[in-house]
Amino acid sequence: MTDIIKASLPGLPRRHAAERRFQLYGKLAITMALGFLVVMIGMIGVSSIGAFTQTQIALSINFDSDSLDPEGTRDPATLAQANYSSLEKAALREVFPQVKGRRDKRKLYGLVSSSAQFTLQNKVAANPALVGTTGKFWFVASDDVDQLVKGNIDASLPETSRRMSDKELGWVEQLRASGDVQRVANVSFFTSGDSREPELAGILSAVMGSALSLLVCFVLSFPIGIMAAIYLEEFAPRGRWSDLIEININNLAAVPSIVFGLLGLAILLNTFGLPRSTPLVGGMVLALMTLPTIIIASRASLRAVPPSIREAALAIGASEVQTAFHHIAPLALPGMLTGAIVGMARALGDTAPLLMIGMVAFIVDIPASILEPATALPVQIFLWADSPERAFLEKTSAAIMVLLLFLVLMNLAAVLLRKKFERRF
């Protein structure tokens, strides 16, 4: 029997072997792609872990009423003007009475982040009763101490080859021995804006900037995109013009994003005079960028609605507009939303168009409206990656993880929306 098959199909084993080989290649390709992904995200993830904890140093602060509030009025204005930095310095000198000399003292004060004086100022402003008392408070440690505690500074290297001198290492060791150093969850990373000090830098201003830009982008591009798609698909007469428009929309989808940035600079900023560095302009530029994607996706999903629906609606007397808006558009909406979300996810990760309109900037204040200067998540990653301070390395990785998380969430939302609302015919 098999002999007969073999005789009649001489190439069969060879063809089977070819098929097995092909499947093997395919599996190899998928394994490699997954492998790269795992290695990449794994490396970024591992180096980002440090950013989610923060080192703090405890100091007992004596809120000396003579220096803070010499007149004893507890007047908020006087309290705001007081020199809080001296309180923290005095506390450090108390712990390390042996440190003498200007240079060494300066190094000693450098153990604690420069934010300490503002922390104290805020504490006193919130509770003026603190003046005249003594209490132990935790302060954010400087980036060097933080890196040392996290094991990123190798103490076995010769003194000149590392950021911290032997003396500083000794001080940190002493603080650790007395239990005055702790590592806690870094909440401020999620609740504060950018900073030049790695230990204080947070991503909230960038997240808000991205969110506001995307809001503007969605509000502009989604209605315009689906209206254009409905008109082109349902009403526009077919002909040379509609062909031309279709080709141009497809071309626009492939235009490099920096070009949209240049357009934003030339038209939105220079001609219309809109404010620079704001999410309003950023969102408008991103809307231009996502518009073609939304139109193409929306048209595809309109086309996927079976003609029987349209014909049935027309047959029972609905007008063309009623057919389009009451019957076809609702059925196509999940597909349109998916297209919009995928387009917005692309917009979320793009920096090139923002470069031109001034959103690649150092922004500390958290933007509250679309008219306030803001930056975006990928821009924040770029700025941190470019900073000399070593401690920004982990911040960069952490910001990348946050951006990836948002991208995954958006894509997940697209999948879920489609799953929930899609109707198969």
Binding site: V219, L269, F272, A361, F362, I363, D386, S387
Partner: protein, 348 residues
């Protein structure tokens, strides 16, 4: 299943956005700063402190490069244009003229300190001692041959350039031409080495163009690798490739002293002291420029200037030195601080 009803909130929202666009923008109450990526870390540090310690908003600082910043700065006066631009070189005459043509006549110049450019390699190999002449011969496109002519750069290894240097391939990672660091490197190191040839130096007066072409052109045969504007990347690459050298700002050497070391240039180590007293040959001054007109319009500029020119910021022990700024001498600082205080106009 009413599609129109579903879409109407979106349409209303977009109408709101458009309405927001058409209302006139209110006057700016936040200082806008653009300019050099080298000055960026210093300007942002001051801006942040300024925002935290005063009632004013934190200034917005953009990193656009020196040339890009001056272009924006000079493109017009008023709220739509930046108030301050940072520069890692001095403003050019042509730029001052462009500013004047756009109605910006009163500019205050502030020199903030110095920055060194280093040639560094991995700590895994021995440190080297270079001269500017070595740097020029290793990196120029054309080098002098015998009898006053030039030839395309024939050197493949450092030993061929100078017998006292190691026998390794010339491989230098540096910034692209858009970078201010590259401009400064070319002007200070390349031209400095170029000038050591007497006949080339003589050329400067007679044939300026040819002189510039010879001294300022970096070789393109693969020995010099443009590594982008990200200096951290260059440091990582040097770590991986101990044979290569990298060109970047002093602050990156300072932060990465455990993995890279700076080469001695003309017998001087790139150290804080050597750059600040001018002994290290590859260092440049950093500036920023302020529009006088905006001082009255945008609140806080004067306070920002005061913060920047205070000793706790730009002094020897100031917080900017922590970020890698090399301070000016006491007398120079005093001189500039008084110029800034009296808002003296820029004079070229």
């Amino acid at each position: 299943m009413n599609g129109i009803l579903k879409l109407s909130p979106l349409l209303a929202a977009s109408a709101l956005v458009l309405a927001a666009v058409s209302t006139p923008a209110h006057a700016r109450d936040q200082i806008s700063i653009v300019g050099s990526s080298t000055v960026f870390p210093f300007a942002t540090t001051v801006a942040e402190r300024f925002g935290k310690s005063t009632k004013f908003k934190t200034p917005v600082v953009e990193s656009t490069g020196s040339g890009g910043g001056l272009k924006l700065f000079c493109s017009g006066s008023g709220d739509k244009h930046p108030d301050i631009t940072n520069a890692s070189r001095r403003i050019k005459k042509s730029e001052v003229e462009k500013c004047a043509a756009n109605g910006i006549k009163d500019i205050v110049e502030v020199k903030i300190g110095y920055d060194g450019i280093v040639l560094a390699n991995s700590k895994k190999t021995a440190p080297v001692k270079l001269t500017l002449k070595d740097v020029f011969l290793a990196l120029a496109k054309d080098v002098p041959a015998a009898d006053g002519k030039t030839q395309p750069n024939p050197y493949k290894t450092w030993r061929q350039v100078n017998a006292s240097l190691p026998d390794v391939k010339i491989e230098v990672l540096g910034p692209p031409p858009t970078s201010g660091t590259r401009d400064a490197f070319v002007e200070l190191a390349m031209e400095g080495g170029c000038k050591t040839f007497k006949w080339i130096k003589a050329m400067k007066k007679t044939e300026k163009k040819a002189y510039k072409a010879l001294c300022h052109t970096i070789r393109e045969d693969g020995a010099f690798i443009e590594a982008g504007e990200n200096d951290n990347l260059i440091v990582r690459k040097l770590e991986a490739n101990p044979k290569a050298f990298g060109i970047f700002g002093f602050s990156f050497l300072d932060q990465n002293a455990d993995v890279v070391q700076g080469a001695m240039v003309n017998g001087k180590e790139p150290s804080f002291e050597n750059i600040s007293n001018g002994a290290y040959p590859v260092s440049r001054a950093l500036y920023f420029y302020v529009k006088k007109d905006q001082l009255r319009k945008v609140p806080g500029i004067e306070n920002y200037l005061a913060e920047f020119t205070s000793d706790r910021a730009w002094g020897e022990e100031g917080y900017l030195t922590e970020k890698g700024l090399i301070p000016m001498s006491v007398s120079e600082r005093k001189d500039w601080a008084s110029k800034v205080k009296s808002l003296q106009n820029l004079s070229m």
